[in-house]
């Protein structure tokens, strides 16, 4: 009976999931979280530090950690890795110039051992903008197919502005985590 199984038991009772939202600055992480929680998205300052949102989704309680993406604070991301069930990587699909940066940071993140068990949802955000790359193109640029075969992952196009695609993404993420953690259901 290790600590991990005790934690799992507690979690199972409360049906809790811990979800970490990361991505470059200006990708729309905070907007996604607020939008999915039905809050006002018209005044959002760039995140200095992090926000935590707890919300009920289906029969689960999601603890969403939305961590600022500015370059100076990216090094603090690792402080949030512990016990992450789901990882949401948000991409600004209209920011073509920084896709290299985006790939670099994601690759680094996926090397992290503490995140190795987490399901990965990639949001190709800002699909409502005309010049945005499609989710397929983003997947190719980020080379997602080359990822470790054991990783559960999916890419979903979305717009935090209109709300399109957000539920589809979270549905998949929550189901995927549930099927891994709450095996007894």
């Amino acid at each position: 009976m290790g600590l991990l199984s005790i934690i799992r038991k507690i979690k199972r009772k409360e049906k809790e999931m811990r979800i970490l939202m990361v991505g470059l600055d200006n990708s729309g992480k905070t907007t996604i979280v607020l939008k999915i929680n039905g809050e006002d998205t018209s005044v959002i300052s760039p995140t200095l530090g992090f926000n935590i949102k707890t919300m009920t989704y289906d029969k689960y309680t999601l603890n969403i950690w939305d961590v600022g993406g500015q370059k100076t604070i990216r090094s603090y991301w690792r402080n949030y890795f512990e016990q992450t069930d789901g990882l949401v990587w948000v991409v600004d699909s209209s920011d073509l110039r920084r896709l290299d940066d985006c790939k670099f940071e994601l690759d680094n993140l996926l090397k992290e051992e503490r995140l190795s068990g987490a399901s990965l949802l990639v949001f190709a955000n800002k699909q409502d903008i005309q010049g945005a790359l499609s989710p397929n193109e983003i997947a190719k640029v980020l080379n997602l197919d080359a990822m470790d075969k054991t990783r559960h992952w999916r890419i979903v196009g979305c717009s935090a502005y209109t709300g399109e695609g957000l539920l589809e993404g979270f549905d998949w993420l929550v189901q995927d985590i549930a099927s891994r953690i709450y095996v007894l259901d």
């Binding site: 200006n26 300052s45 760039p46 209209s94 896709l99």
Partner: protein
């Protein structure tokens, strides 16, 4: 064996464990010692010691710069990177100490740093062909003859880069020009301003998102941007911008006149000043109202500096004194 540590000396296993433990403890001690010296506060509040440190680093950077030029066939990448790192360290040093330095010293050290950067740039272009991805029409002069055939015959091994060829609309690689664009109707568009020097840019009408990078000595007037604006590597510019979110990275000596729904942020920037939005063109009021940017939030003065997380005012930015602000610009 169930009793006390003194008896351990006879048992080889515990002895080994004991030795390992001593080893661990001393390692830990060493680690603590070294972090102690490292974590010394870099601000030492003495102009003299700052100047000494500054001059020393400056000289070492200069000498490595000349060295790299003289060495006939070096492997330049790591050296250049090292130099660029030490320059940014120097920059950080100035920023961290600028709150007590006399204004003259701050200005002259910033000047020194920008000179160093320029030298580094020219040295870089001399000793190595440009490798990183960049938009094609950047004004390239000297290295063109030697680097062109290489870069065209085999593009960088980053195979995915073919997706970047579908460039966003924008103005790129212009000098001494007046660039105008009017957005009409419901264009949900991104727009790019990159590699501009000595230009005047006028963007009228609403659009969705704006990326600005590598712009020098330009005047940039922009109507309401309903999404966000991302600015990187700008120097000596005047910006008049309205947007929901504004992020400013690597800006030097620029004035920003903003209307912003949220708090503008700066990162790795210094010598930037802020004032309220001052722009007029026929129909701007309707455009501002449509983009939800008509009401003055006063946020232009609430700048967050991501490299200055202290209660006191960041030395990297300031509010433009009223007598130095521009009048409303009509475009």
């Amino acid at each position: 064996m169930n009793d006390h540590t003194d008896e351990n000396s006879t048992d080889p296993t515990t002895q080994r464990k004991h030795a390992a433990m001593i080893d661990r403890l001393s390692n830990l001690h060493q680690a603590r010692l070294s972090t102690k010296t490292n974590s010394k506060d870099p601000t030492f509040e003495s102009t003299q010691s700052f100047l000494t440190l500054f001059t020393n680093s400056k000289q070492s950077i200069e000498s490595s710069l000349t060295q790299i030029q003289q060495t006939p066939n070096p492997d330049p990448n790591s050296d250049l990177e090292k130099i660029s790192n030490s320059i940014s360290d120097l920059e950080k040093l100035v920023a961290e100490n600028s709150y007590f330095l006399p204004p003259y010293e701050v200005r002259s050290s910033l000047k020194t740093i920008s000179d160093l950067k320029q030298t580094l740039d020219s040295v870089t272009s001399k000793v190595k062909p440009r490798k990183k991805f960049s938009f094609k029409n950047k004004p390239a002069k000297k290295p063109e003859s030697e680097s062109k055939p290489e870069s065209e015959s085999k593009p960088e091994p980053e195979s995915q880069s073919n997706y970047k060829i579908t460039d966003s609309p924008g103005f790129r690689g212009k000098e001494n020009a007046i660039l105008t664009k009017e957005f009409t109707g419901l264009e949900i568009r991104e727009f790019v301003l990159s590699d501009l020097t000595n230009c005047e840019v006028k963007l009228k009408g609403c659009f969705r998102t704006l990326f600005i990078n590598r712009v020098q000595n330009c005047k940039i007037y922009v109507g309401p941007v309903s999404g966000s604006i991302l600015i990187e590597e700008v120097e000596g510019c005047l910006f008049v911008l309205a947007s929901h979110q504004i992020r400013i990275h690597d800006a030097k000596g620029c004035d920003f006149y903003l209307q912003c729904r949220s708090r503008p942020i700066i990162e790795r920037s210094f010598g930037v000043r802020f004032g309220p939005y001052r722009l007029y063109y026929d129909g701007i009021e309707t455009d501002l109202k449509e983009s939800n940017l008509y009401d003055d939030t006063g946020n232009w003065a609430n700048v967050d500096d991501f490299q200055w997380l202290r209660a006191v005012q960041s030395p990297n930015w300031s509010i433009l004194p009223e007598n130095e602000r521009i009048d409303t610009i009509k475009i």
